[in-house]
Every structure is written in C-alpha cells, then in structure tokens.
C-alpha cells in the first residue's frame, strides 16, 4: 500500500504531472522574459513578482472563456485532439529521468528513446488533426505545414539522437544520461549543434515557425480554437518546448546527473536538471531572436538538402570517432 501511494505521488505531484505543469509555466515565463530582455523590453511585469504568474493568468483566462465549436468542424476530433496531444507529450515526459529516475519508477526499458520519439510524433499528429478538424482554410494550411515540417525534421532528429546512443552504447535514455562522464555535447559537438537546430524546427520556433506565421496563415491550426481547447493547444506547445529542452539535457548534457555536494542526491539531480533545461531554453530563445522567419519551401529544402545529409554525416562521424578514438582516450 505504501508503495502504491508513493507511485501515485510520483505520477501526480513530483516529478509527475503537477511538477511538469508548473515547471512548464516557469519555463514559459523565463522564455518570455529572456526574449523581452534581448529585445530591450520589460516583458511580463504585473502578474505576481516580475510577472511570474503571467502564464497561469493566460491559461486561466483561456479556461474561463466560451468554448466554441464551429459548425463545419468535425466535432469529436476537434474536441479530443488538443487534449490527446497534450496527454501524449506529458506521457513522453514521464519517461525522462528527472530526479535521477523517471516519473514512473523502473519504467525505463531498452529502446525507450525510440519509444519517446514516437510518442512525440504522435502528439504532433494530433496537433495536425486538431487543425484539420476545424475545417478552416487557414487551419488546414497551418495543420499541413505542421505535418510537412514535422515529418521532414523527424528523420534528422532521430538520426542525430542516435549519436549519443551510439557513444553510450544503449538506446535507453537513463543509460545514455548516466553514462556521460563527459557530456556528449563535448564529445560530439557537431551532433549537439545540429540537434539544437533540428529541435528548433521541430518546436516550430524562429526561424522555422512557419506554422505560426500570422502574417501568412493567421493563427495556423489554432485559428478556430478558443477557450479551454486553445489553452490545451498552448500548453501542448509549451510542454513540447520544455520536453525538447529536456531531451537535449538527457542526450547531450549528462541528464540530471551532476556533482552532489551534500544531502540527498535526488535533490541535487533535480536542481541540475532544472538548471540545464533553463540553459537550453536560453540557447533556443537566443536563436529565435537572432533570425527572421524562413519561407516554407526554404525550410523544406533546407531540411532535405542540408540537414538530412549533414545528420547522416554526423552519425557516420560519431560512429567512427566512438569506435576508434574514444576507446583510446578513455
């Protein structure tokens, strides 16, 4: 019975759903604050100290708004897709070791890296469905753009994720994270940089935020959404961003593991994890501020002509280096 309660606590409170939710809100606030400061603005300022409660206020505002289903929409899909997308991302999150072990204890298994990537793809597919179900031309275009962009960038992303897996000699996320005496970002910097770029495209952030290009497609797939459903779509996106950062941390920055100075190692692991994620958020936000939005055809040809060959090369390089050079060094 005691074990069961511990399990429930881990899933629902820490490091499960509640933590992920609040941490996402915090990252969202961080992101907005960083972007604002880089652009010489104040950013969220009035809700709570330094505006830290602004993301909550936004969600609460959306939840309190009227929920409209357009008459032409495919009702059930329209209703369910945002919630399902959100659930899948959070589910994928629960396989990442946050305080040294994953949300569900002992849930990691050989090859869960591939499983988690698949979950994220499914979540994106539900995002596409939500746009498609709204029966709005802009929703359709936005949804198609999500799909084309995501499916395109999924291949290089998986290829690049294989690099750390190869160095660690395992497809299990917790093993990869635990095996980094030196972060893989240092051992395979080429894969790290490419991974960040590809992730930027996966998360639909500038310069790849084509599905959200409001000057071209209005709200993209969100066009017809309002109220609680929009809140879930927004949440999905925010959790995705944090998840992407977490994936980078697990694969390239040594996961939650770091020096333990005193007391509980879990506490320190958790602290390292949060700090590393914030560092990744800072990097992605910096890239976002640095560039203008590309055009859809430029993004796609950039993927097939540049990123895909590069990621294949990167994998080959990693394999070569990991087989012949690192054994000599370590």
């Amino acid at each position: 019975m005691v074990v069961d309660l511990w399990f429930v606590f881990r899933v629902l409170v820490f490091p499960g759903f509640t933590f992920i939710f609040f941490f996402t809100m915090f990252c969202d606030w961080m992101e907005r604050k960083i972007e604002a400061r880089m652009q010489n603005r104040v950013g969220p300022a009035f809700t709570g100290p330094a505006g830290i409660l602004q993301p909550f206020a936004d969600i609460i505002k959306l939840l309190s708004k009227e929920d409209i289903i357009p008459s032409g929409a495919k009702r059930n899909v329209f209703r369910l897709a945002p919630i399902l997308a959100f659930s899948f991302v959070v589910f994928a999150f629960s396989f990442l070791p946050i305080d040294g072990s994953a949300v569900i204890p002992n849930s990691s298994f050989a090859g869960d890296l591939i499983f988690v990537m698949a979950l994220i793809t499914i979540a994106n597919f539900f995002l596409f469905l939500s746009g498609w179900a709204s029966s709005n031309p802009y929703g359709d275009i936005g949804a198609t753009r999500v799909l084309t962009q995501f499916l395109g960038y999924d291949i290089p992303l998986t290829l690049l994720a294989l690099a750390p897996a190869f160095i660690a000699g395992s497809l299990t996320i917790s093993v990869i994270a635990a095996n980094q005496y030196l972060p893989f970002a240092i051992l395979a910097p080429w894969a790290f940089v490419l991974f960040i770029v590809t992730l930027q495209a996966e998360l639909e952030k500038d310069p790849f935020d084509i599905p959200h290009a409001e000057s071209e497609v209005i709200g993209g797939l969100e066009t017809e959404f309002g109220g609680g459903k929009l809140a879930f779509l927004r949440l999905t996106r925010d959790v995705q961003i944090v998840f992407g950062a977490a994936l980078v941390v697990e694969l390239f920055l040594g996961g939650p593991y770091g020096p333990v100075f005193f007391g509980l190692p879990e506490l320190w692991y958790f602290l390292w994890f949060v700090l590393k994620i914030l560092a990744v958020v800072l990097i992605t936000e910096y890239v976002t501020c640095l560039f203008a939005r590309l055009r859809i055809d430029q993004v796609l040809s950039g993927n097939w002509k540049v990123l895909l060959p590069l990621s294949v090369l990167s994998l080959a390089l990693t394999v070569a280096v990991a087989t012949w050079i690192y054994p000599l060094v370590m």
Binding site: Q39, N40, R41, D206, P207, S215, E216, A292
Partner: protein, 513 residues
C-alpha cells in the same frame, strides 16, 4: 490637332492644355510619344454645374502638365486612357465612382472606393447629389453578396486576404487566385474606410481644412497639412517667411524619419523578425518625442498653417534635437550591418517582389518604390519646395527593384533625413515664422505636390473666392502604388505576398480618403 487644343503655360503645373472631350486620348498619346517616361499623377473631377470637368495631371520630366477637358453632365462619357497608361486604371475608376463619369473601353469598370450597397446613380462629389436623402431611401438598394472565403476552380484556389487580416493593419481586400503556391491573379478592393474627406473639406473653411486633411493619414500627417497649405498659399500668392520654410522642413523630415522607421520595423514583423521590429521601434521613439517637443503631440503635429508655422522653435530645443538625431545616426550603422549581412533577412527579401523599371514607369509608381526600381524621382529635387532647394542632400536610388532594395532605399533616406534636419538647424534663418493671411481666399485654382514618406503626394484646390474651398482633390502615394502590388505579386510565391506587400509601405487610410 490645331483648334481642338489650347495651351496655357505656368498654370496648373508647368502648363495646362485645354482639349475637347474627344481629344484627351490623342493628347495623352502625343505626350507619351514625346516622352516615354511620362506618367499620370492624378485625375481630378470637377462639378461645373452643367458640365463635369476632368483634369488629367500628367507627369513628364519631373514636372506636372494638366490636360483639361469638359464633358456634359447629362451624358458623361469619355474614352479611357488606361490602355495607354495602365496606371490610370484606378484613377478612372475613382472618378467613375465619385462623379459618375463613364470611361468607355475601361477594362474593369467596377466600383473602387464606394461600398457595394451604395445607391446607383448617386455620385457623392457632384454638388447636386442629395446624399442624406438618397441614403434614407436606399433601403432597397441591391446589396452585392460578398465573395465567399475561399473557392476553388479546378487547380486554382481563390484566397481572400482581408478585409481583416493580421498582415494588413488596415481594412482592404485582395482576392488572390493561387495555383499551388504560385499567385496567378490579384484583385484589390479598397474603400472599406472611405471617409469622404474630399467632400467634407468643401464644407469647412480653409483654416479648418488644414486640420481635416492632416487626419487623412496618421503617419504622414504633416505632409498632408503642408501640401494643402502650400496649395492655398499658391492661390493666395502668399510669400512664406524663410524661417517658417526651414521649420516646416524639419517637421516634414521628422515625419519622414518616423514613417520610414515604422515601416522598416513593420517589415521585420511581416517576415517574422520580431527583434528587428522591437529595436527599430525603440529607436523610432526618440523621433516621436522630438515631434512632441517641437509641436505638442507625438503623432499629429498640427504644426502647419496657411502663412507659416504655428509654433516657433525654441533656442533651448536645438541642442536636444541635435543630440537625439546624432545618437540615431550612430544607431543606423547597426541596421546597415543587419540589412546587408543577416542571411535570414536577405533570403526573405532579396529577389522577392521584383518591380522592373519598365513596369514601374508604366504603372506610374512614386516614392521609394520607384526609386528602388532605378527611377530617379523625388519632388524635393524635381520641384524643390520649402527649404529643400537650399539644403544639400542625396537622391537615393537602387537598381534591384526587389523588396530588399525598397527597404534599403528607406534606410538610406533615414540617414539623409537626419542630415537634412542637422543642416536646417545649423542654417536656421531668423525672422518671423508666420504671416497673417486672409480667411477668404481669392478665386483661383492651384496644384501642388510634395514628397511624402511614401512618395509623391498631390493636391488640387479650387477656390471660388469664399472662405470655403470649392474642390479639394487629394492623390495619395499609396493610391498610385497599389497597381504595382498587383504586378509584383502575380507570378510570385504566396508566402512572399506579405513581405513584398509591406515593402511598398501601403497606407489605406490615405487611399480611402
């Protein structure tokens, strides 16, 4: 053509040519034969009781020549010139809307500025139009149904951009026919915020009209006011004091500065470059503060008045203005580097929306759009007004004709504007800043044009010797540049529509007077 033509020089521009109704085409044709680069500036309609006067203000070699003709009101038919000058299409459609002139042979005589449910045979700018009465009885007027949001004809998809769209800050509509990602045809519809300012100006005194025309456009407000007061001063024969001319120049250049910087920032927003947008608008803020300091309001300056300027420059303000513009000039280096080197910015704007020099001439485009296509026109140089004749500055042109060139021209002009303000402050003459003028304006008519931030702004004012103008005609720069948008967008990528559109710096508040 002999007896059908009467030429009077130094009147309504360089010369006025009076022709019989049938000869307008021939005159335009021979003008075009004499100078291939001639274009149309405006087409002014005029109610003359039994007749309707039409004035084709043509631009040739940087000066305006007016072709006057008259047609009977009962049977207001005249041959179109839009096949000779495609840029005349919009002008003719507007005159058809407002005066009921029928242009025979016009390729697309649909409504342009009036709403679709406006009663038939009610032409608002005719003096005998009983608008209130007609609108009260117009309940039964057939309302044309709006086109549906998107419809398909085979492979061609019809996308409606506007009247409400995040890329357009003002209401206007573009029906875009798209095949795949390629734009096949663009059909603009304006007039969603038409306020009838030309009509309203006839019901206010010259003094009040200065503030009225200023509100045609929030961004280039000073240019409108300046152009109007200069036109009235031409009719009155008023000599404006030199100090007022210099002060006006400073206000006008501040106006240009903030307008150009607004557009450059907005272009950043359209291509998803939010940081550029934030930085540019941050640096634009000191310009607004200077306008506020010198005139009392950060946007609508209300500085111009017939006979001079309303507020003198305080000696104490000069150092403040100088430090601000010097700081701004230093910041421009950063933007030059950004515009010339930032790859994601260039990939979105270079070779996008190319307008060739030939097309630009044919469509009679104005301002930075024309200059970016290699046409060296600038009213400040061609016919210097205010203090521009005495102030040295460069006329900026670029040959690429793409969106990037149009933005670069504006960036260059920001620097030129700063130099102009700097020079004007250094060489500020002393003396009065305003002369007294009568409230009643002597009978007469005059045209005037100034270089607004978006291009050549044209005014025609006719006085009957009262305190109220008989006719005020405004041709805004965007009105001349919209046909260029059709030319640019067709054949391009649909995703390029926002950046190439914004590079024209369209202002629909101007266009829908």
């Amino acid at each position: 053509m002999g007896s059908r033509v009467k030429i009077q020089s130094g009147y309504l521009g360089k010369a006025a040519i009076e022709v019989k109704a049938g000869a307008n085409r021939d005159t335009v044709k021979s003008l075009l034969e004499a100078n291939k680069e001639a274009g149309i500036v405006a087409l002014t309609g005029l109610d003359m009781a039994k007749k309707i006067g039409l004035m084709y203000h043509m631009c040739t070699n940087g000066v305006i020549v007016t072709i006057k003709t008259e047609i009977p009101k009962k049977n207001p038919k005249i041959a179109t010139i839009s096949d000779l000058i495609p840029g005349a299409q919009f002008h003719e459609r507007e005159a058809a809307d407002l005066f009921g002139v029928i242009f025979e042979g016009h390729p697309n005589p649909a409504r342009l500025v009036l709403p679709d449910d406006w009663p038939e045979n009610l032409y608002p700018l005719r003096k005998d139009a009983k608008i209130d009465e007609a609108l009260a009885n117009a309940e039964t007027a057939p309302r044309q149904t709006e086109a549906v949001q998107a419809e398909s004809e085979g492979d061609i998809v019809n996308i409606i951009i506007g009247p409400q769209h995040p890329a357009l800050l003002e209401p206007e509509k573009f029906s875009v026919k798209v095949e795949g990602e390629t734009v096949k045809q663009v059909e603009p519809r304006i007039g969603y915020v038409h306020r009838g300012i030309e009509k309203a100006a006839e019901q206010r005194t010259y003094l009040q009209d200065v503030y009225l025309v200023e509100r045609i456009c929030g961004i280039c407000n000073s240019c409108h006011a300046a152009c109007f007061v200069e036109t009235v001063e031409k009719i009155l024969g008023t000599e404006v004091p030199l100090r007022a001319q210099y002060l006006r120049t400073i206000i006008l250049e501040l106006n240009r500065l903030h307008s150009h910087m607004l557009l450059l920032g907005h272009a950043g927003l359209e291509i998803g470059y939010e940081t550029l947008f934030q930085y540019m608008w941050r640096d634009r803020e000191p310009v607004m503060d200077l306008t506020e300091q010198l005139t009392g309001n950060r946007v609508i300056s209300s500085a111009m008045t017939v006979g001079g300027i309303r507020r003198d420059l305080q000696e104490t303000d000069i150092p403040k203005v100088k430090t601000q513009i010097t700081t701004l000039k230093k910041k421009m280096d950063f933007y030059y580097k950004l515009f010339e080197n930032e790859p994601s910015f260039k990939i979105r704007t270079q070779n996008v929306g190319v307008l060739s020099k030939e097309d630009a001439l044919k469509l009679s485009v104005v301002g930075p759009v024309a200059r970016a296509s290699g046409i060296a026109i600038d009213v400040r140089k061609d016919e210097p007004y205010e203090a521009y004749g005495e102030i040295p500055f460069n006329l900026i042109t670029r040959d690429e004709g793409d969106s990037w060139a149009r933005l670069m021209v504006r960036l260059d002009e920001v620097v030129e504007s700063i130099n102009i303000i700097d020079y004007a402050l250094d060489h500020m003459p002393s003396g009065p800043f305003r002369v007294k003028v009568p409230r009643v304006v002597v009978a007469g008519e005059a045209i005037n044009h100034v270089e607004a931030p978006r291009g050549e702004l044209f005014y025609y004012v006719k006085s009957q010797g009262t305190a109220y103008p008989e006719r005020v005609k405004v041709r805004t720069p965007t009105f001349a540049n919209i046909p260029a948008f059709i030319n640019i967008a067709e054949g391009g990528n649909i995703a390029d529509v926002p950046p190439s559109f914004v590079s024209l710096d369209p202002c629909f508040s101007c266009t829908d007077r």
